[in-house]
């Protein structure tokens, strides 16, 4: 990123400060800021995540009142095993993938196609379509009547219906990101290909689509995050009919009749969070650069 090529204001201030001030301040600021950072991380993140890990390692009796103490004996792996079978995690993982992958691919392809035309043509109709296309960023989906519509279409409770709902919700995000980006691609690039005899499909697939890579990566990250973690829309559309990871977590957490099985809930939370966490840790530079690029300009 651009951290190094910008002059850091803090350094400048220090460098040009009078010698006496420099000698007095520097040692304090040297340990003060890192101390604050460590305290913030421990208090805001350390405490909740510590509780998750120790509770996930306890047995049911010990986890009855989740606290910060260590388990008397660790049974983290047994608890993982229990939620894998009782929480039907493998079908849930597959179900999550089954709705996420087609939804994301679908919005990327359909959204890019539409965005290309929306960015290149100019007319009143096109601006109206564009405004409608991005309105979903702001407007909340009509979650109850979607269910009615899916019943009428015979798609209620099916993966196809869920995919359609997610696509309808997140096409706006793709159209918004991609249309803005296509406008920055010079038309001459397309014309060069057109002279060589390429039709619109070829121009789109060979010239435009490859250039969209970084923008589509950003959209992919955001939409994957939303769909992978969504439980609200899934409860309405496929609740009880299809396993997804958040839906099954909801079931594991709601099924305790008198008491909640905190050790199982948190074992589930750990396993469920791992795929996205690993993806994030491996790709964090790209993810962070992608998310921040569009927002501040």
């Amino acid at each position: 990123m651009t951290v190094t090529d910008l002059p850091l204001p803090a350094d400048q201030r220090r460098r040009s400060a009078p010698e006496t001030q420099l000698r007095r301040r520097r040692p304090v600021s040297h340990w003060l800021q890192p101390t604050i950072v460590v305290l913030l991380v421990v208090a805001l993140l350390g405490v909740p995540f510590w509780m998750v890990v120790v509770t996930a390692g306890k047995d049911q009796a010990e986890a009855l009142n989740p606290n910060l103490s260590l388990p008397s004996h660790w049974q983290l792996l047994e608890n993982f095993g229990t939620v894998l079978t009782q929480g039907r995690m493998v079908p849930a993982f597959l179900g999550s993938m089954l709705v996420m992958v087609p939804s994301v691919l679908g919005v990327l392809i359909l959204g890019s196609m539409a965005s290309w035309v929306l960015a290149r043509r100019k007319s009143r109709l096109i601006s109206v379509v564009y405004a409608l296309g991005i309105s979903g960023i702001v407007l909340p989906p009509a979650v109850v009547t979607i269910v009615l519509l899916l019943r009428q279409l015979g798609l209620a409770g099916t993966a196809v219906g869920m995919i359609g709902v997610y696509m309808g919700m997140y096409l706006s995000t793709v159209i918004f990101f991609v249309t803005g980006f296509v406008r920055t691609i010079p038309v001459e690039l397309e014309e060069a290909a057109r002279v060589d005899g390429a039709g619109p499909v070829r121009v789109f697939a060979r010239i435009i689509l490859p250039l969209l890579g970084p923008t589509l990566a950003t959209a992919t990250i955001l939409i994957c995050l939303y769909i992978w973690n969504d439980v609200f829309y899934a409860l309405f559309v496929v609740g009880g009919r299809l396993d997804t990871l958040p839906l099954n977590l909801y079931q594991v957490a709601s099924s305790g009749l008198y008491l909640q099985n905190w050790h199982l809930i948190f074992a589930y939370v750990i396993l469920m969070s791992l795929p996205l966490l690993l993806t994030f840790v491996v790709m964090q530079r790209k993810i962070i650069a992608g998310i921040t690029s569009g927002a501040v300009k």
């Binding site: 002059p7 009547t145 009615l148 690039l189 060069a192 998310i291």
Partner: protein
């Protein structure tokens, strides 16, 4: 980028209409270069899965659609009257609005403070930035369960408070009809503060060094530089963060469902919680009525807010 250097190709002004189809020519009209049918698949999905359900909202909110009737009949504004009379409509709108405002304020406050603390590009700061982004990646439902456990009267937070205060603390953080809404808003802000932090960090980096240099030469301290130079220049980041926080929390469900499920006494019942609950009871028309109310509230609020925030940016440039 090299494309800008290539000369613009000249095109014959009147393309021959006979030469179309399989024979490509360099001189075809613009319209065929970007055919409208490229819009059709996306529009079809949007119309079927977004716009038609939204239109249905305006229809079925005025019917008696429920799992108790086999047929659906128009009942006029009966649903609205009923929800107004038992106070749910206004109470839930109010709760959702307060929640959204609290989240927008807190999420931005936390995010901005984190960004300022972690601004310098040191190793420990980079690690901390990554750590604070972890809750953003996690499921909101999971976050809700974590805090439900942590905030129990005999839970972890009270244990820590008791340790520092020297006596037992048994505050029911999620049991107050007044303050729990604030507690849940703090949890929501906690989950998303890492995203706000990232946006603010990126915004802080765009502020030119010479502006800050000039302020320093004029004798401006840290706070006055921040208040009169750095914060105003963060306007685009504020716009993005406030807008996303408002929209995200007005559509909020997961965190509230996992911590309080709308309680105690309905004091944290967001519109989406009501919609989910009444839908589960088979009262589809009432759920639709609330869904329509949410739609209207978001429409009435989001556009003016975004417009106002954008105006603030214009003043800068």
């Amino acid at each position: 980028m090299t494309a800008q250097l290539t000369p613009r190709r000249t095109r014959p002004s009147h393309p021959d209409p006979a030469i179309t189809g399989s024979v490509p020519t360099p001189g075809r009209a613009r319209r065929q270069d970007h055919p409208l049918w490229f819009l059709i698949p996306a529009l079809a999905v949007l119309v079927v899965f977004f716009f038609i359900p939204t239109l249905f909202n305006f229809v079925y909110a005025f019917t008696n659609w429920s799992s108790f009737h086999s047929d659906i009949q128009f009942v006029g504004g009966d649903n609205f009257t009923a929800l107004l009379q038992n106070g749910t409509l206004l109470a839930d709108l109010r709760t959702t609005l307060i929640y959204a405002v609290l989240v927008a304020i807190l999420q931005n406050l936390f995010g901005l403070v984190l960004a300022l603390v972690l601004e310098a590009d040191t190793r420990i700061n980079r690690i901390a930035r990554t750590a604070f982004f972890v809750p953003v990646v996690m499921s909101a439902l999971a976050v809700g369960y974590i805090f439900q456990a942590l905030l129990k009267p005999e839970g972890g937070l009270n244990a820590i408070l008791g340790f520092f205060l020297g006596h037992e603390v048994t505050i029911a953080w999620l049991g107050s009809t007044t303050w729990t809404l604030l507690v849940v808003a703090i949890i929501h802000a906690w989950k998303w503060m890492g995203l706000s932090m990232l946006i603010y960090l990126a915004g802080l980096k765009t502020i030119p060094g010479d502006v800050l240099e000039a302020a320093r030469i004029d004798g401006s301290g840290w706070w006055s530089t921040f208040r009169s130079i750095r914060f105003p220049l963060l306007a685009p980041a504020v716009t993005f963060n406030v807008a996303t926080a408002l929209l995200g929390s007005m559509n909020g469900f997961d965190i509230v469902q996992a911590t309080t499920a709308g309680g105690p006494g309905g004091s944290t019942e967001l519109l989406n919680i009501f919609i989910f609950r009444t839908f589960g009871q088979g009262l589809f028309a009432q759920a639709t009525t609330m869904s329509l109310s949410l739609f209207v509230m978001v429409t009435l609020l989001a556009f003016p807010v975004i417009y106002f925030l954008r105006k603030r940016e214009d003043v800068l440039s």
